[in-house]
């Protein structure tokens, strides 16, 4: 029981990170209908920015924890959004309106580019940083097992919840959110109503990148190591999460992320760590067999 509780905590933490990345996939998919394969690598770029920023702060002897984390978050969000914007502008915007596969290939190319760019400029080695936050709260002690929630886990879950609330508010209540949803439904009509569709799409990419940046900082704090390859795995998992929840649906992305996180940690804990990816994908296939548009996705109504 105690063991299961610990897995639940770990799974939720992992799921929160996946969910944050998944939202980037789902938003981009919703608005221009493409899989942004480079999104995982955007997340990886932000993790590297976080490593540099943490190291810089340490060099300047800034030890106040809230200050350091806020500063790193701001820096990472700023630069990563710039990356998100640039990727969209260079690789996807020229391809808008062409076949569905063209942006996909362009995105795969972008992903290869980003991975190798980081490998070249930042080095191929794993980057470890000293633990930023140590310790945690012991929740429950049984004779043979201690359930503990680390401060980093609390931080990740808190930040995710806060972001989710802010994000839901942004999408449902603000004028930007209205524009964004309008573009999702019918971008031509939206353009006719005088809304700058290009700008909205750019902002969507930046927003997705910003959430990935937060995820990147959180992962850096949580695991303490980054390398140029983390984007690939995290990207695939997050994309799976987005599809599982129903691509295009924001609550779906979060739900999918949590589910994938939980499945992974429970599978690894009770069955076998090697086959956790198989389990993730097998469950995805099973879910899609019965609900072809994901858990919370609206089925596509096709008119002839």
């Amino acid at each position: 029981m105690a063991y299961a509780l610990q897995q639940l905590i770990n799974g939720l933490t992992l799921g929160a990170v996946y969910g944050l990345i998944a939202i980037g996939y789902t938003m981009v998919y919703g608005i221009i209908g493409m899989i942004n394969f480079a999104h995982g690598d955007i997340f990886m770029v932000s993790a590297f920015i976080a490593v540099t920023a943490f190291t810089l702060l340490a060099a300047f002897d800034i030890t106040s924890l809230p200050l350091a984390i806020t500063a790193v978050l701001i820096v990472a969000i700023f630069f990563t959004s710039a990356y998100g914007w640039a990727v969209e502008r260079m690789a996807y915007r020229p391809l808008r309106g062409s076949t569905r596969l063209a942006p996909l290939i362009s995105a795969i190319g972008m992903s290869i580019f980003l991975q190798n760019m980081v490998q070249l400029t930042q080095g191929a080695r794993v980057k470890p940083i000293p633990p930023v936050i140590e310790g945690g709260i012991v929740l429950w002690t049984t004779p043979d097992f201690t359930v503990q929630i680390a401060w980093t886990q609390i931080l990740i879950i808190l930040v995710t919840v806060v972001l989710m609330v802010a994000f839901t508010w942004l999408i449902t209540q603000t004028s930007f959110g209205r524009q964004q949803r309008a573009c999702e439904q019918d971008s031509t009509m939206t353009a006719l109503l005088g809304i700058n569709v290009d700008r909205t799409i750019s902002l969507t990419f930046m927003l997705g990148a910003a959430l990935a940046a937060v995820a990147g900082v959180m992962v850096t704090v949580y695991y303490g190591v980054v390398d140029f390859y983390i984007g690939f795995v995290a990207g695939i998992k997050a994309f799976t999460a987005a599809v599982l929840g129903g691509i295009g649906s924001l609550p779906g992305a979060m739900l999918g992320g949590l589910l994938i996180g939980l499945i992974e940690s429970f599978w690894a804990a009770y069955l076998s760590a090697e086959y956790k990816d198989v389990a993730t994908f097998a469950i995805l296939i099973l879910v899609l067999m019965f609900r072809p548009s994901g858990l919370l996705g609206r089925p596509e109504v096709e008119k002839v």
């Binding site: 391809l95 309106g97 076949t99 086959y275 899609l288």
Partner: protein
């Protein structure tokens, strides 16, 4: 949208300068965290080092590059606008045909020209493997319009089927080839069945997941696949039972002794080259014939409109499954050849990036175009080879090239597709076309 861009007036130098300055600013923003700074391990702790010189060079290069690019593009545009807008006759089909025969000719005589250059023949063999894989995937993606991101799984199934059949039952290449094809086709149906109802991008992630599942199983099921260590000493194919060995077994003949030639390692390389050439050409023939059969037409109809297909009473299930099965089978054949050529296989050869490259070959070539696959395979395999001198930047260039080719030609290098059926001239005149 594009019409608006073309109609834009020619830029003044000031505008060009502003544009380039903006690009330089973005380059600066992007460059600061990645180019300008890096963390280095110093005695166990990371230390930030700055490279502002490199950053400045990077920004300057972006500025100059953008400025020059804009200038060239504007020149090109004004010149193009000045020219009379006579309708160009589309000769692409003819050119492609000539090009195809030309490439085939070169392919046939390549080993003769480079009979002592192992590197060239080896590289050409690699190109041909990708051509074959591209033609196989073309059935699924190009003809049937089903996005498959896990094609490498079938390649792996083919390769492992041969490797396992050999290690456990001693099957030779020629015996294993059909078996592996059948095995891969079975896997194709296995994958195809649960995802019949899915479309578009759901299909993409499921196929991607399937590819990963196969790879993870190959890595972890050590009893079956020997895990990450892979399977080695897979025998090379023989020519009608004649092996390509220096010292054939007692009482048997090798290729060299049978033909009374002096033994040379190149014989095998050249034989492998011709083998994959024949396999690839057979694939091409097979696929282009299939296109003219009802099943091939059904694929293309499915790609264009699934609902219309259903309305016409087509069995969509069978059409999709046949596309998956045949695409997978061709991938399986390529896999057997790959295993036989390398003599050693491990899960590392069957990662997602391999799938991505094969898909890129199909899409860059122009979906559904057989010749396009050849061109794209040439570009994508030779580009990293040419870049071997600056090995570090190889994959960087590869990614850049993928983006640039796509942006330059969004529908692929050869996008003009030959219609499968043509109306006869007279009826075409009568119709609306």
């Amino acid at each position: 949208m594009s019409a608006v861009i073309v109609a834009r007036h020619a830029r003044t130098p000031t505008e060009r300068f502003k544009d380039a300055a903006w690009v330089a600013f973005v380059a600066l923003l992007l460059g600061i965290p990645m180019v300008g700074m890096t963390t280095v391990d110093q005695g166990g702790a990371l230390v930030v080092t700055t490279r502002f010189g490199v950053l400045a060079a990077f920004v300057a290069a972006s500025f100059a590059g953008r400025f020059a690019f804009r200038w060239v593009m504007d020149q090109y545009r004004t010149r193009r606008d000045a020219k009379s807008t006579t309708v160009k006759v589309d000769r692409t089909a003819k050119v492609v045909q000539v090009l195809g025969w030309g490439i085939l000719g070169v392919a046939l005589f390549l080993p003769a020209m480079y009979s002592d250059n192992r590197y060239v023949v080896d590289t050409a063999t690699t190109v041909l493997i990708y051509v074959m894989l591209g033609w196989g995937l073309n059935v699924v993606v190009g003809l049937a319009g089903l996005l498959d991101l896990g094609y490498v799984a079938f390649y792996a199934v083919g390769a492992y089927t041969y490797a396992l059949l050999f290690t456990h039952f001693g099957w030779t290449f020629w015996e294993a080839l059909p078996a592996a094809g059948a095995m891969a086709a079975t896997f194709g149906i296995l994958l195809g069945y649960p995802i019949l109802r899915l479309r578009g991008d759901y299909l993409a992630i499921v196929t991607l997941g399937f590819g990963e599942i196969i790879r993870v199983i190959l890595v972890n099921w050590t009893e079956l696949s020997n895990g990450p260590n892979g399977i080695g000493s897979i025998p090379r194919p023989t020519l009608f039972g004649l092996p390509f060995e220096r010292n054939p077994a007692e009482g048997e003949q090798s290729f060299a002794t049978f033909f009374g030639l002096e033994f040379s390692g190149m014989h095998r390389i050249i034989f492998l080259y011709y083998l994959i050439l024949v396999l690839a050409l057979l694939t091409n023939l097979f696929v282009s014939r299939l296109r003219k059969l009802p099943v091939g037409r059904a694929w293309e109809a499915l790609r264009e409109d699934e609902i219309a297909c259903k309305a016409m009473g087509m069995n969509v299930t069978n059409v999709k499954l046949s596309a998956f099965a045949i695409g997978a089978m061709l991938g399986g054949f390529a896999g057997v050849f790959f295993a036989a050529r390398q003599g050693f296989i491990s899960p590392e050869s069957f990662t997602f990036s391999e799938s991505a490259i094969i898909l890129a070959i199909v899409v860059l070539g122009g979906m559904g175009s057989q010749m396009g696959v050849v061109l794209a395979a040439l570009v994508l395999v030779l580009l990293p080879e040419l870049g071997r001198n600056f090995a570090e930047y190889r994959m960087l260039l590869f990614g850049t090239a993928m983006v640039l080719i796509m942006v330059w030609k969004p529908s692929g290098l050869l996008s003009s597709r030959e219609p499968t059926i043509r109306l006869a001239k007279a009826s075409a005149m009568g119709g609306q076309k």
